[in-house]
Each structure stands twice: as C-alpha cells, then as structure tokens.
Amino acid sequence: MNARTIALTAVSIAIVTVLVASVPVPIPATGGFTHPGAVAEIFVAVAFGPVIGMVAAGVGAALADLILGYGSWAPLTLIAHGSLGLLAGWLSRGRGKGGMFAGWIAGGFALVALYFIGQATVYGLGVAGAAAELPFNLFQVALGVLGLGLFFVVRAVYPQIEQLAGGKGFTDVSKS
C-alpha cells in the first residue's frame, strides 16, 4: 500500500464517520432522525473503488457507532456497511452510470439484508424486531443514491480527484 492510498483511505473513513455521526437528517413525517452516511459511502466507493469503498464505509460507520455509544452494533455495522462499499465500488468500476446505479442497488440490498439477518439471529432481535428496523435502514440506503450525484458534482468542481483515484503516483496537481 503506497502513501497516497493510505492517506486517501484514512481521509475517506473520516468523511464517512463525520457524516454518519454528526449530521442529522429529519425523516419525513415521523419526527425521527437518520443520517446521510450512505451518501458518503456511495461517493467514496464510486470515486475510489471497491477496496477503499469497503474499508471507508465499514470502518467509518463502525467508528461512528462506537463514538455514538452504540458499541454493540459496531461488528454488524462493519460487515453490512462494508458490503455496501464493496459492491457499490466493484459494480461501478468502468461500467458507467448504469454500473453505478446497479452498485447502489446491490450494495443497498446487501446492507439491508445483512442488518436484517444479523439483528434477527446473532443479536436476537427476532424476525419481528429486525422487521421493525427495516424501514429505517431502507430509507438510509435510499438516500445513498444522492451519493452518485455528489460524485459528478465533486468531479466537476475538483477534477484532481481523477488523479487521486488513479493508480499513478503523485503529480503536483494542486496549487495550494
């Protein structure tokens, strides 16, 4: 792993953690709150590929769980969100907008399914309890589609992102 990948992965994790842990999004007509974490996860996966996508989504969201005090969910979160990042990054590689869309759907499905199975079995919530969490997870994942839009906007604003994501070493692209 080279220095550039180390830095990019660390920064991607931190972006995901911040969006999951500290940005409340009201859920329509319920008075409850969710977070735009999936937006960041889809963005990172599409921009930087399956490996960084998986690590950033999984570790980022699990760290957020720990920070927020939901320590016991962290292992499940690591796997479920990691799968979302992996699938979204893998399916979107070089397959254009269709691939990105498919990545979001597949990753989102994996996340919802893994949470459901994990909560119903290992965590002992039972089918009824896991079903109660289902709409919440679905909504959270649905928001993730905006991560695709975010990717196109960021690429337009900051074209250097292509160099960051590519396999090349450093070239002096920023004038900061």
């Binding site: 550039r4 972006i15 953690t17 760290l63 960051l164």
Partner: protein, 273 residues
C-alpha cells in the same frame, strides 16, 4: 435533540488515567473484549447476563471511568434493550402463561429471554467501551498491529481517528459559511440532503486536499522505504501482570464454555443448571 445544524461529537473516547486497567497491555484488553463477547453470545441465562453486567460495571468503576461516560452508553442503548425485551415478551411465548391480554400471552420464559437479550446488548457495549475508555489511540493502534494487522492498516486507522475531529470541525465551519451566504437547511429526507449538497461538496474537496498533502507528508517521511524494517518508539511489552491476566481470562473463559457446552449450564433463560 438534534436541531438544524451538525452535532458536535467527541471522537476521542479515551479517559486519561493510571489505573490498573489503563496499565494493562492493550492486547490483554483486546482478549478480554473477545472473551466477554463470546461468553455473552453463548450464554442465554438472565442471571449470567446480570452478573456480567455488574462485573463489567465494577471494572469501569475500578478503572475510574467517570459515571457520565457510563450514563452515555446507558442512554443510547437502553431504548434498544427495552425494545428487545418487549418484542421477545410479546412475540415468543413459551411454557405456562403468567398473564393473558387478548391474544398476547406473557410467559416467564419469554420475559426472561427478552430481558437477557436486552442486557446482552448492554454488556457487549460496556465490554468494548472498557477497552476504548482505558486505551489511548496510539496504544490502540499499536495493539492491533501487534496482533497481526499490517502496519499500513494500523496507520490508516490512526490517521482516520486523527482526522475525524478535524473534519467534524470543518463540516461545522462549512455549514456556517454556506448559511452566511443564504443557504437554508429546511425540509426532511431527500429534500434536506439535497440542500446539504453544497456543504458536502466543500467538505469533500477540503478533505481531499488534506489527503493529498497527507500523502506527500507520509512519503516525505520515508514510509515503505525499501529494505528497512520499521522500528518503534514506544513498544508495548507483556509484563508479568499481563501474563497473569491473560491466563486468568483464558482459564475463566474455558471453564465457562465447558460448563455451557458439556453441562448445559446457562442454556435456559431463567432456570439454573
């Protein structure tokens, strides 16, 4: 209750101190977390769960973790624990009914099972936080590297932990800067997130800029220089107390697992033996 703006988080969970738990080798604490989680997943008994909860609280107290930190965990997880207890009580009746409301049967078995499962969530969380509250981030990362995680991934984690408060701060400043230009965050769900886009874009670009500089800084400090075995400044080393603690942990866990698997102790939610 979260309002319009971002919520401040405290990303560094470490509580500075010199207690025995702080001085324990971080790998022993990692072992403790692993043993604890395995045991509470294996046992289904309410009394076992209660004892584990008391034990883990005693550990926190003896490590002088402030009560506020423990309240924080209780506050976030109690609703989930109660929901679990309620769901099991309502939906999984077994044995003789204690009371019947319309079609809902309340049984002692379901009540105990629900309580045990709710407590399990709390016990697991407190075990993990016993490790995180008493281990500073550097030692945390070093212990993960020592148990086999490649150094690069340890570095990734350390850097991520270091950047979380930074990015949280820049997220707040960016929200302010955009609000000052007339951006109003209203609405819910998709509409709300779409309005947040300018903030996300500025935050990601700022972060990626940080990532470029960080990458160069790491490179400039000769990470991955060929033919060099990395040395470390503060190595962690097992002391006699650490060996003793590990041995105790392993023996205790083995015993409890034997009792459960061979003798069936702790299988039933309420009955002992």
């Amino acid at each position: 209750m979260p309002g319009d703006g971002p919520v401040a988080i405290n990303a560094d969970l470490y509580v500075p101190g010199r207690s025995w738990a702080h001085r324990l080798d971080p790998r022993v604490k990692l072992l403790f977390v692993a043993c604890f989680i395995v045991l509470v997943l294996v046992y289904d008994n309410l009394f076992f769960m209660l004892s584990a909860l008391v034990l883990v609280h005693l550990l926190h107290f003896s490590a002088r973790v402030p009560a506020a930190r423990l309240r924080f965990v209780w506050k976030t997880l109690l609703p989930v624990a109660l929901l679990m207890a309620l769901l099991w009580t309502l939906f999984y009746p077994r044995g003789e009914a204690l009371a019947v409301f319309w079609i809902v049967e309340i049984t002692l078995h379901a009540l105990a099972q629900g309580a045990a499962l709710g407590l399990r969530i709390l016990v697991m969380a407190f075990a993990v936080f016993a490790w995180l509250y008493t281990t500073d981030q550097a030692a945390l990362v070093r212990s993960l590297v020592k148990v086999g995680i490649p150094y690069e991934w340890g570095l990734v984690l350390a850097l991520a932990l270091r950047y979380i408060p930074t990015f949280q701060g820049s997220y707040m400043l960016i929200s302010e800067a955009q609000a000052a230009r007339g951006l109003e965050l209203r609405g819910a769900g998709f509409a709300r997130v779409r309005r947040m886009m300018p903030i996300f874009v500025a935050m990601i670009v700022t972060s990626l800029r940080a990532s470029e500089q960080l990458g160069r800084a790491i490179e400039a400090r000769a990470l991955g220089a060929p033919g060099v075995r990395r040395s470390v400044l503060h190595d962690i080393r097992f002391r006699p107390a650490d060996y003793a603690a590990s041995l105790l942990l392993a023996a205790g866990t083995a015993l409890l697992l034997y009792l459960n698997f061979a003798l069936g102790i702790g299988e039933h939610p309420i009955a002992l033996g």
